[in-house]
């Protein structure tokens, strides 16, 4: 495999959401270094994303009683807001000039995985997205503190029900296991201690507004990971993020989502040391330059949203303009990945979990539906005599296998079928 094509392809599919037509060929001309720098530099103005109107997400207040006239209006507003919020984010992913920003927000959403299914209000989820957005390449101390004060996360993990009288371990455990340190880097006694120290939060569910009720707080000293102190949310964030295990863990998570979900992170992975000052951007830059990026061994499966957005970019489609949004959400639901609704606090699965016969079938009908709504300009502009080979450039793929070339060649007289096979090919579903 051509390593230059491979590394450039990975920059597009892992550090962004795939190329727009023509971008991959241009990047190959520019060279890997220039392309890497472009991906890692946040532009002052993102013309693609700036045209997207922010949805009007409001506080819907207390849920009316069941079987009242008010509940209908409430449910309609709630559904409308959730849909608008989902489309807004998908549009940003599809239209942004700078893929990395949205890619990082997406990564952190899967990291601090919180679902609207339990919140049942759009506003706290929208606010959480803003927190993730503001910190996506920033400082991890700041992000962790902000997340402990995030109403959606607190409500999701029962923080508002954790009191001096009886602490609830849900938030404290997941903070250590899934968000900051990694599993088994603490003891069960630490879980009990952190739960006590994190008591007293209260959340207004409809808005995500967080406050601390001093009467419900346990202000006694606890011993957490060998240190005895009276902790607050902020000091817990500082204390945990400062630990070496935090750098190891965040490097592991970056590795898992950007490099390989099946191979173990090698000790020398550059993101780990680059995260010494807990600046996320430094870790991401180091990761994009690590030698793993050109090692063909480290492949990833595109998750359904990643696959869908990269298809939108190749087909020049805008998610919110697809007919209809309900149909779009239904396809994403069948593929088991809807933004703002991860399946559990561990986030979405990776790798082979996305490769069942069920997802194969839904992907085919999803792709057919998308292709019907595209004029296929990018594909049709490739001369038919070189279309099989050059369609790999259209999609930023290192190469087609002989198997796939054969089915593409047999479909040259049917561009819609050609596009469908290309988008559903093993080479496109997997980032080589």
């Amino acid at each position: 495999m051509n390593i230059k094509r491979l590394e450039t392809s990975r920059l597009f599919h892992r550090f962004g959401f795939g190329p727009r037509p023509g971008e991959y060929v241009q990047a190959l001309k520019d060279g890997v270094e220039a392309t890497r720098t472009k991906f890692l530099t946040v532009p002052a103005i993102d013309a693609g994303a700036s045209g997207i109107k922010e949805p009007d997400i409001t506080d819907l207040g207390k849920r009316p009683e069941p079987n009242t006239p008010q509940i209908v209006e409430f449910a309609i507003a709630m559904r409308y807001q959730s849909e608008q919020m989902g489309l807004w984010w998908l549009d940003r992913m599809a239209l942004s000039d700078h893929g990395l920003t949205e890619r990082m927000v997406w990564f952190w959403h899967g990291h601090w995985a919180t679902s609207i299914q339990k919140l049942n209000y759009a506003l706290p989820m929208f606010n959480q997205n803003k927190v993730l957005r503001a910190n996506s390449l920033g400082n991890f101390y700041t992000m962790t503190k902000a997340m402990l004060n995030d109403g959606a996360l607190q409500f999701w993990l029962d923080g508002q029900d954790s009191t001096f009288k009886a602490p609830n371990e849900n938030l404290g455990r997941e903070l250590m296991e899934l968000f900051v340190l990694g599993v088994n880097r603490y003891s069960e006694d630490d879980v009990k201690a952190i739960a006590r120290a994190l008591t007293g939060y209260q959340v207004v569910r409809s808005s995500g507004l967080v406050s601390i009720n001093q009467k419900r707080r346990d202000t006694n000293p606890v011993t957490l990971l060998g240190t005895t102190a009276v902790f607050t949310g902020d000091s817990i964030a500082d204390f945990l993020v400062a630990r070496n295990d935090c750098a190891v863990f965040i490097a592991e998570r970056l590795w898992y989502r950007f490099i390989s979900s099946s191979e173990v992170m090698p000790d020398g992975f550059a993101a780990k040391t680059a995260f010494a000052d807990r600046t996320i951007n430094n870790a991401v830059i180091a990761m994009a330059s690590d030698s793993a990026m050109s090692n063909p061994q480290y492949e990833l499966v595109k998750s359904p949203v990643e696959w869908f957005i990269s298809a939108c970019r190749a087909l020049e489609l805008t998610p919110s303009k697809l007919a209809t949004p309900g149909q779009l959400m239904s396809y994403l639901d069948k593929l088991n990945q809807i933004p703002f609704a991860p399946p559990n606090v561990g986030g979405w699965p990776a790798g082979e979990a996305w490769l069942s016969s069920a997802t194969a079938q839904y992907r085919i009908s999803f792709a057919a539906w998308l292709i019907k709504q595209s004029n296929l300009n990018a594909l049709l502009s490739i001369p038919i005599e070189s279309r099989v080979r050059d369609s790999a450039d259209w999609l930023a793929l290192p190469e087609w296998s002989a198997r796939t070339q054969s089915s593409l060649r047999a479909s040259l007289d049917d561009p819609a079928q050609f596009a469908l096979l290309a988008l559903c090919s093993p080479e496109y579903i997997v980032s080589a």
């Binding site: 339990k118 609830n168 492949e299 593929l335 606090v345 069942s356 479909s411 093993p426 997997v430």
Partner: protein, 412 residues
């Protein structure tokens, strides 16, 4: 010979097929033919694994209702003794579990108490991985039934999971089970189908994941010929289960529909020896009593209904159901009328060939380990018995050397 007549097959499956008639239907005659051609041999044992995601509170499932410590440990979420369903002098089922109680009274339910593994892990994900890989000591990448599949000849229909994501339990090192969605299936036809089949051939240059992607598409065409009509029924709407309370630890929400499809496919003679279904929502850190009772009610009623559906088939005697969760919950309740993560919990094994009764010791409420129940039975004892007595396979190739067994099968 287990002759499913074409008429009977259509009768069993067409109810589901007609509803989804808006999408392209393969001919039912053609499908009936396919299922009849390679039906599972009569008297072949079938295993149905039910996974309860989130950590089911075992202490409010099989309840030590004579023990005052039970009531004093969790005053807000303990049940009144008179509402429970007594199993013997000391233990009772959750009041919502009338269906399983009925099967228990018929002697068809084995309850294995205090099940877990050494050094309990209270993380949902680690603990579920230990159960599904059957490797609590070190992390491995294959599931216990996946390794069993490795020992069988390749057949995408041999182990099927309902829902569109394959559980790790069914992933082997060489072979894997198939995942089947509920409803809405549209299999490509004509020229597109021909090219999809070409596209899913294995290629010499394929990496591991590309090969897996190709296989998943290939299996779609293998599977579709025999089970399309059942999958044609519209995607079921998740019933109003209390996912709001305990829903952040995985699992599906439509167990009844999953088991309905499994019952129909078993009746139709699907050549499948292992089925996997699941229910999520058991992570009841808050407001547990109603939520868990509702979930256990679904488990209990849908299993009773499932066993009942099998009565009208020739397969009733062949089917064994196994129910487990990744851990039980803390003995003492928390401030949110819920419980935090715990350790040991009960397993249920249900079927005509089961010797009903209790197995394993009930963990003592007065001898807790760090506030949690002690593990009295290793889940590998149960797996080993399932492998040998139900799947008729040596346990060692899947579990390594493992001596323990739980003898809940009648020696018929």
């Amino acid at each position: 010979m287990d002759t499913v007549s074409r008429r009977k097959f259509l009768k069993l499956t067409s109810g589901a097929a007609i509803v989804g008639a808006t999408s392209n239907l393969l001919s039912l005659d053609q499908i009936a033919e396919a299922a009849i051609n390679r039906a599972l041999a009569p008297d072949t044992p079938i295993l149905v694994v039910v996974t309860l995601y989130g950590g089911n509170d075992g202490l409010n499932t099989v309840i030590p209702f004579k023990d005052p410590i039970y009531f004093s440990s969790r005053p807000e979420i303990s049940y009144k003794a008179e509402t429970m369903l007594p199993l013997d002098a000391d233990l009772a089922l959750n009041p919502s579990m009338t269906g399983i109680k009925m099967l228990w009274d018929l002697g068809k339910v084995a309850i294995i108490r205090g099940v877990g593994y050494p050094k309990p892990d209270l993380s949902h994900f680690s603990s579920m991985a230990k159960w599904q890989t059957a490797s609590p000591d070190r992390h491995i990448n294959s599931g216990w039934l996946g390794r069993w599949l490795d020992s069988q000849s390749e057949d995408p229909m041999l182990a099927i999971s309902l829902g569109s994501v394959l559980p790790p339990m069914l992933a082997g090192t060489k072979l894997s089970g198939s995942a089947l969605p509920l409803g809405g299936l549209v299999i490509p036809r004509g020229a597109l189908a021909t090219q999809c089949i070409q596209l899913s051939k294995s290629a010499r240059a394929d990496s591991k994941l590309m090969a897996a992607a190709a296989t998943s598409m290939r299996n779609l065409f293998n599977l579709s010929t025999s089970i399309t009509p059942i999958l044609k029924s519209p995607a079921p709407v998740a019933p109003d289960l209390p996912t709001v309370n305990g829903g952040n630890a995985g699992g599906d929400s439509n167990l009844t529909q999953q088991l309905d499809v499994v019952a129909k496919l078993i009746a139709a003679g699907s050549p499948t020896k292992v089925w996997s279904v699941s229910l999520g929502g058991f992570d009841t850190h808050a407001n547990e009593a109603n939520a868990q009772a509702e979930l256990l009610g679904v488990v209990s009623q849908s299993l009773a209904r499932f066993m009942n559906q099998l009565k009208s088939t020739t397969r009733l005697n062949d089917v064994t159901v196994m129910v487990y969760s990744e851990f039980g919950r803390r003995v003492k309740g928390n401030a949110s009328q819920g419980t935090d993560h715990g350790t040991a919990g009960p397993m249920f094994v249900i079927g005509e060939k089961i010797k009903g009764g209790f197995y394993g010791d009930q963990p003592s409420l007065s001898k807790l380990v760090n506030g949690d129940l002690a593990v009295t039975t290793d889940f590998r004892d149960v797996y080993a018995t399932v492998l040998e007595s139900i799947l008729k396979s040596p346990a060692e190739q899947t579990l390594g050397k493992w001596a323990g067994r739980t003898n809940f099968l009648t020696s018929a």
